[in-house]
Point group: C2
Chain length 323, copies 2
């Protein structure tokens, strides 16, 4: 454990009470000026630490950033987030970083988080609005032992995990919109971007990106009708780190269920959480669009739509609008 | 065009006749010593160029390496091999290099070739024996506009292209073994390794690797019963560059047919070239194996096997042994 982490540990232990620099210096075995340097580092990381010449130091607020140590604290997973957690103040896209690491052999459960993304991406190269410190931008490296055609199952796993995370931690009414959006009040609060690298036989690696609007006080004009944040819905700031821990826990749980019991239990839970079945929708694909009523999502995750003329369509992927 | 290439052009024009250094020097507009330096470079690239103080230079043999200029000469494709062709004397794996380039945005048709591979790969991380200058190790970057579940179609396209290339240029009897081997006399002469990077909706890029045993005089003990080369089958060395050109031409043609007319014509041609339908085989997958008779390969490229008890199995991928 680094000096900085030990110092933070002592400050956390004292729960907001003052700790003298002398005591810290003796306990950690470093000079007073080294204490001061490490306090500065912690402040740069977003910890609010008060100091007084007479009383010493007091931690009044932990960092709001998704720092690896904060994520690990109380994280009760076995694999996800147990190995490397890599934190960026800013990066182009956490999925891009995760793919680079995966190519270099990063094991399952490696997590990449960033406070902001300069090229946050959604499906089909669309942008994902990623303002600094307001949202969660997290990408997980997975190495499931499955053929590539089963990869969409992981998007279902992730949607269930993200939706359950919001249900567990907030009072919001959450719904999954096929294929990969999480809605609150019919507005997008989180999105999933699943990317794979595979041979025909087997997946080499998968990267599952989760973008979630958490503490955004408002959203840009062009998306505010279609998107929302936890803050907008509840009026309260929410600790992002709790969301990430809860998400990792559920993601690991449902990945294990998928591996041990197959897709059926995932799909069952997904159907309880979706708002898409039974609805009248328009779905747009690359080369065509259909309007009709969603009959079901089948065993392969394919949307079954019945159009106005009564014809059934199997839709692998597309953009859904409720009409 | 570089000085070296212009020099090579003049030597090729004179078709083995002697050309004086003085004439070359005048035509290209460089000194006699610059001519000599470029002759040395060409020799390093494998061109056999004789020199005589009185007569000058004579090109007696073009390089046996897969040099970009040699591949381009007479290549009548529109896209494949028209942009960048990257040649290595040695690399770990042409597929690995191609993936790196694809991530950086290399366009469709970019070709990577190497004289030898230190980590030549087959399916499922198996090695592909890649001795220096004996075989073709070529990887093509593709960017097909298709959902990832249709990616296996490209393996069928490649198998047809590789098999037809051998049929067009040699007198060998060639057969495709499902899913991705090219056989001569029931021995493997070429293999295909298809890798994709995709979102759930769309393929970002594909890399199609082709490994072919061409001028290998013999093969290592551990594979010689199961593998062969053009040299072993015909007793003749074969210019690799002709094979690569022919392969690029057919690969482009069948990719275009797939795009414009769908999978049906590809599958029809594939079925004419395969030896797998109607055969009794054992197929081994990750977690199980079946023995039975191959009934068909369906519209999705899936093998339909009927086992001893009459039950049908749909097999997406596996290792096939004729029994």
């Amino acid at each position: 454990m680094s000096t900085k982490d030990r110092l933070l540990g002592y400050l956390k232990e004292s729960k907001g009470d003052w700790v003298s620099g002398e005591l810290l210096s003796r306990r950690i075995g470093i000079t007073r000026s080294a204490i001061w340097k490490n306090i500065s580092k912690l402040r740069e990381e977003g910890y609010v630490i008060e100091s007084s010449p007479n009383k010493g130091y007091s931690l009044s607020k932990i960092s709001e950033m998704l720092l690896p140590n904060e994520i690990r604290e109380g994280l009760d997973t076995e694999i996800f987030g147990r190995g490397e957690i890599i934190h960026f103040r800013e990066t182009d896209s956490t999925n891009a970083r995760a793919k680079e690491l995966a190519i270099q052999g990063a094991p399952e459960g490696t997590l990449i988080v960033s406070e902001t993304q300069t090229k946050g991406r959604g499906r089909k190269g669309r942008t994902w609005f990623s303002p600094s410190e307001a949202g969660i931008y997290a990408s997980l490296v997975l190495r499931p032992n499955m053929p590539p055609n089963e990869a969409p199952r992981i998007t279902f796993v992730t949607a269930v995990s993200a939706a359950e995370t919001l249900l567990a931690l907030t009072s919001l009414e959450v719904a999954i919109k096929w294929p990969n959006d999480i809605l609150v009040n019919n507005k997008k609060i989180a999105g999933i971007l699943t990317e794979i690298s595979a041979e025909m036989d087997a997946i080499d690696y998968m990267v599952v990106g989760l973008g979630m609007n958490v503490n955004n006080p408002h959203l840009p004009d062009d998306i505010e009708e279609k998107a929302t944040s936890i803050f907008i819905e509840t009026g309260k700031r929410f600790p992002k780190v709790r969301i990430v821990r809860e998400y990792l826990r559920r993601q690991e749980k449902y990945c294990r269920i998928l591996r041990d019991s197959g897709f059926e239990p995932i799909l069952m839970r997904w159907k309880e959480l979706t708002n898409t079945i039974g609805k009248r929708i328009m779905v747009e694909m690359i080369d065509k669009r259909y309007t009709g009523v969603v009959q079901d999502v089948d065993q392969e995750g394919v949307l079954i739509l019945q159009d106005e003329k009564g014809a059934f369509h199997r839709i692998l992927s597309g953009d859904v609008t409720f009409v």
